[in-house]
Subunit: 151 residues, 4 copies
């Protein structure tokens, strides 16, 4: 079904401009605007290769960067193996339907498995209908909801 | 409102038997039974004091261990500061209503803040009615739901 | 498990004072206060015995009215038989746990079935935890949510 | 934004074939197949003009029937006025995005208001993403979920 030429590859130093553009667009979806120092810290952490830091993937469609994924391996007490949290997932709306989002999810999953991590998980807003159309096809909705305490 | 004598303190080596009993009871709530090596690995990680590992708190009521919390500080790309994931929270049902669950949440929150982390979050099953009665009082329900991909 | 002496019977003219008290308490749960003419119209319709009107049940515990149910038989196009909408269900919180809510639901269901109606349904707020603890035992949660357009 | 020529009009005897086709397609969305006698009973009730029966609307796009709505005025005890339950709403997927669904909802709402009924409501499956994209624009999601007891 997916016939476009999609390439998923690790984020690299050379991606800074594309990454900045794509993550900005992603954050706009969440009506979020982050200061430049957060971008710089994030980019540097994504490339650090250190445990405890997020990793990044870039999706290219016909040679053009059109999507990204940020994910973190972290401990989970219920198993000896770590788990993998897919925090950010973005595909340019202009190329939606070509399989970029799905390819990114599958690449994160494959990266986790090759590190001995059996599964990945992510959060999404209950009303992210377009995202959920994809997620329902490639993953399982759990009965879990999220609470936060900030003050 | 809370008049019972509740003490929240870090998990220590001496707590092994109580911790084992409390976590087992917690896991039963989720209809989960873990092998003994997972218990051993978890206990050792909880006490390691290393970054990237969970920390543990024990709640005592009138001098008796009746509850626990496991939480992890981890990166979040959207801010320079880390966030805090409260993974496990348990209060013995026999002493529910005395404020132990709330005291544990507040202690995790205070521990995070003293480490420069502004907020904590956790997941719960949509139908965990008893838990949510408490969470609605002390925290905010977000619109986020959780997907997972295990195969 | 239920040992109290619960009697469920149709609402009658003589119940006006108790019904008024119980329905007022129910509406308070929904932070709703209705004008007296709505009470009068509702009571008169409940006793009319006409098609298209709600019917009422009163629950007595040890001879004292402690709960009520209002329900409506109405058409459903997907079947030749009507369906039954349980609109209001109330049990005095002071006597919760004695089985009054469950007995009311079962009496509505039995009343519907004796009229040739196979099932009943009702709506509840997602966060009505105490209600849902009961509903999960006696009924099925559907995947349906409710939208309204008032302006 | 909507430029297509949409006409919403009451269902009539002459619509039987189109109505049968459209309702069949709608029911397929819910993986439901009803026996022919239910179709016949439904059509006859929709045209009866009697209180307690559903009414029907047909949507035409450029002169072709492409959608339908079935709705019921019924009592609600919380007000003297009736309410309006929009049970079935369908627009041919082939013409989605042209405003047919929205026009049907607005026509049901206008029909209700002209009968002195202030609001309409409907149920939808939590995961009916395409429907909800529209409903979120024209209506309010309530916190209500639906339980049913069929046995």
């Amino acid at each position: 079904m997916v016939t476009a030429d999609i390439l998923i590859r690790p984020l690299s130093e050379d991606d800074h401009a594309d990454w900045h553009r794509l993550w900005t667009a992603y954050l706009e979806f969440y009506e979020t605007k982050l200061p430049e120092d957060v971008f710089q810290t994030a980019f540097s952490r994504l490339l650090s290769g250190q445990p405890g830091e997020y990793q990044g993937l870039i999706a290219e469609l016909d040679g053009r960067p059109v999507g990204l994924a940020h994910f973190l391996f972290h401990r989970i007490l219920w198993s000896v193996e770590d788990t993998c949290y897919l925090m950010d997932l973005y595909a340019d709306p202009a190329i939606r339907g070509k399989g970029v989002g799905r390819a990114l999810i599958e690449a994160v999953h494959a990266t986790a498995r090759s590190a001995g991590i059996p599964g990945i998980y992510w959060q999404t807003q209950e009303f992210n209908y377009k995202g959920r159309m994809l997620y329902d096809k490639v993953a399982e909705k759990t009965p879990f909801i999220v609470y936060e305490k900030n003050s």
